[in-house]
Amino acid sequence: MKAIEVSNLVKFLGGSEVLKGISFKVDKGEVFGLIGPNGAGKTTTLRILATILAPSDGEVRIFGLDATREVEEVRKFISYLPEEAGVYPRLSGLEYLHFMAGLYADKEERAREMVEEGVRIADLGDKIRARTATYSKGMKRRLLIARALMVRPRLAILDEPTSGLDVVHALHIRRRIKEYAKMHGLTVVLSSHNMLEVEFLCDRVAFIYGGRVIAEGSPKEFKERYGSENLEEAFAKVAGLG
């Protein structure tokens, strides 16, 4: 059984066909990246995987479950980090983690363990007790990634996990994702514009362009196949962008 099986996924939004029959598969424990320009359909695909949007056509299976019909079951083992996610500004970082842990854990003890783990991942020091309204963008993102990973999901869906962050925060987040994926056999599907990040994190990637998957493979395979120095050049060649 694959972690993710997407077949002929179609999505119409606001009268436009945003996804035009996307298909891909992700193995358990794999870190899979979706790469493409703005408007290619990456976020829509991730939102469908996260059960926020329903497919107009096609099928999405997560660990064998139908992501359209068995949404409540699917939500028990996924963790989604939207690109523009926010945190509750009037809760402290610690209260936020407590709130989230309380929704995933069956028992108080397990919730406490999750929070301890979240505090460790976020690594915000004493600021974890401050209201999140006082956090910088990087600190918020660290808290959000901590929330997404502390619950030990089977599948983490991360939309642009380091978008707009400075090098210090971006590095912290990338290292935590890599560490957790390896340590806990976590399956990760992420989107990113940062090709260095994709090369650092992903086992395999799919190029998305115009609502379609135009190529799939490992970063190494892409570079070899297209004789490119990096993924950016490979994408340009596959997409026919010169």
Partner: protein, 427 residues
């Protein structure tokens, strides 16, 4: 499920009460604004009362009779009475230079008119210093002394011309002993007292209900719009929590904060009303035992209010879900104010049974009418309409909650957006 609900409710309440917009608008402002307004009225009222203490009255007595002497003695009740000689040509200027607030002139022939059965005339001048309520108070004080004077004159004239008649009976020939029949029994409550009781219940209940529903609706719409504005909604919707639980957490969180807000409002409003009327509500007709709503009545009223509150919250949540930020949600909520305010205002002044049939049907169809109707009906022991109203509100709430739950279960809660398109100017 219960664990999830508790977590959602706690989060909602924390977020809402810590929001300065909610804290300020729902709790602080009523607790500060109303007492401040009340204080302002008290200060103004006290100042107005001080104005009528120790008034200086200038009396120009051109008649020089026993009757004018009586007036002079009665005028002393107001304060100093300064006599201005009748021969003084510029008597107004003289009175003003004496600092008089009231000038009373008794013309020559005043007493002779009375002695031949004609009314006597006195000229009264109010020296107005400003256009304020205190001037009205000054004139009111003078009028009551003049009324006393007129009564005394009547008594004297009656005694003089018909000593065998009791002057007091002539002046007050009718004693009205009013009673009220309520639910078929005669009760020892004067009708005017009953009327003011009904007035008090008819006015206060709609105000409380209006404020509660509007406050709760504002909070609920803010709660969902805040999730969108702060970009927390998408994450929330992917959590392993049933969407209905999220909805209930939001509804109940808003209701809890609204109840606290309304309590604050009522504390502030009561203080304001007391300051305005200058007395506490004790001894007022609302304490009339026969008009108190019995316990089972309160249960029906509470149920009716709860169900209409939940309907309002769910409607507000639906409206809030179609906006992208708190400000837009507050604006869009204006749609909901019409069916809340209109029935309350109509029912404040009219009994529903006296209204045209079409208006009655419309009012019964609006769920927010029923708590107001229930409050008024149960004060006089009518239960059937309030019970039917509460049942109607249950049905309405179920329908609205079903629609809200459907919205929360669909992707519309994320993608729904109401935009007011503007026509471009020119070509």
């Amino acid at each position: 499920m219960a664990r999830h609900f508790k977590a959602m409710l706690l989060k909602e309440v924390k977020e809402l009460v810590r929001d300065p917009r909610i804290l300020l608008g729902v709790v602080i402002v009523p607790l500060v604004m109303f007492p401040l307004m009340g204080y302002a009225f008290s200060v103004a009222g006290e100042a107005a009362e001080r104005e009528v203490i120790g008034l200086r009255v200038a009396l120009i007595d051109c008649d020089g009779s026993a009757y004018s002497l009586l007036l002079r003695n009665l005028m002393r009740r107001l304060g100093d009475v300064v006599s201005i000689p009748a021969a003084e040509p510029s008597w107004i200027e003289s009175a003003l230079s004496e600092g008089a607030r009231i000038i009373v002139k008794v013309p020559k022939g005043f007493s002779s008119n009375l002695s031949v059965g004609l009314p006597g005339t006195v000229e009264v001048y109010l020296v107005a210093r400003s256009l304020s309520i205190s001037e009205v108070n000054v004139y009111g004080a003078v009028s009551s002394v003049l009324n006393l004077y007129a009564r005394e004159l009547s008594t004297r004239i009656i005694n003089q011309h018909a000593p065998e008649i009791n002057a007091s009976t002539v002046l007050n020939p009718l004693l009205i002993n009013g009673r009220t029949i309520l639910k078929g029994s005669v009760i020892d409550v004067p009708p005017e007292s009953l009327a003011s009781t009904v007035m008090s219940q008819a006015m206060m209940m709609p105000i409380i209900i209006m404020v509660l529903i509007v406050t709760a609706a504002q909070i609920a719409a803010t709660s969902i719009a805040m999730e969108k504005e702060e970009k927390t909604l998408e994450t929330l919707l992917t959590l392993p929590v049933r969407r209905v639980t999220i909805l209930w957490g939001k509804l109940m969180g808003s209701a809890v904060v609204a109840v606290v807000g309304v309590a604050a409002y009522m504390v502030g409003f009561t203080y304001y009303m007391n300051a305005l009327t200058g007395r506490w509500q004790q001894g007022t007709p609302s304490n009339t035992p026969l008009l108190q709503i019995p316990l089972e009545g309160y249960a029906i009223l509470t149920a009716s209010l709860f169900f209409s509150l939940m309907s309002a919250l769910a409607l507000a949540m639906l409206l809030g879900a179609y906006t992208q930020d708190v400000r837009s949600a507050q604006s869009l909520l204006g749609i909901l104010y019409v069916p809340v305010f209109v029935p309350a205002l109509i029912l404040m002044f009219a009994d529903i049974s006296t209204l045209p049939l079409g208006v009655q049907v419309l009012l019964y169809a609006i769920p927010f009418s029923h708590p107001v109707i229930a409050a008024k009906s149960m004060a006089i022991g009518e239960y059937i309409i309030p019970i039917l109203g509460a049942l109607y509100n249950v049905a309405f709430m179920v329908v609205v909650l079903y629609v809200a739950a459907r919205l929360f279960n669909s992707e519309k809660v994320v993608v729904a957006k109401l935009t007011l398109k503007r026509k471009p100017l020119g070509g």
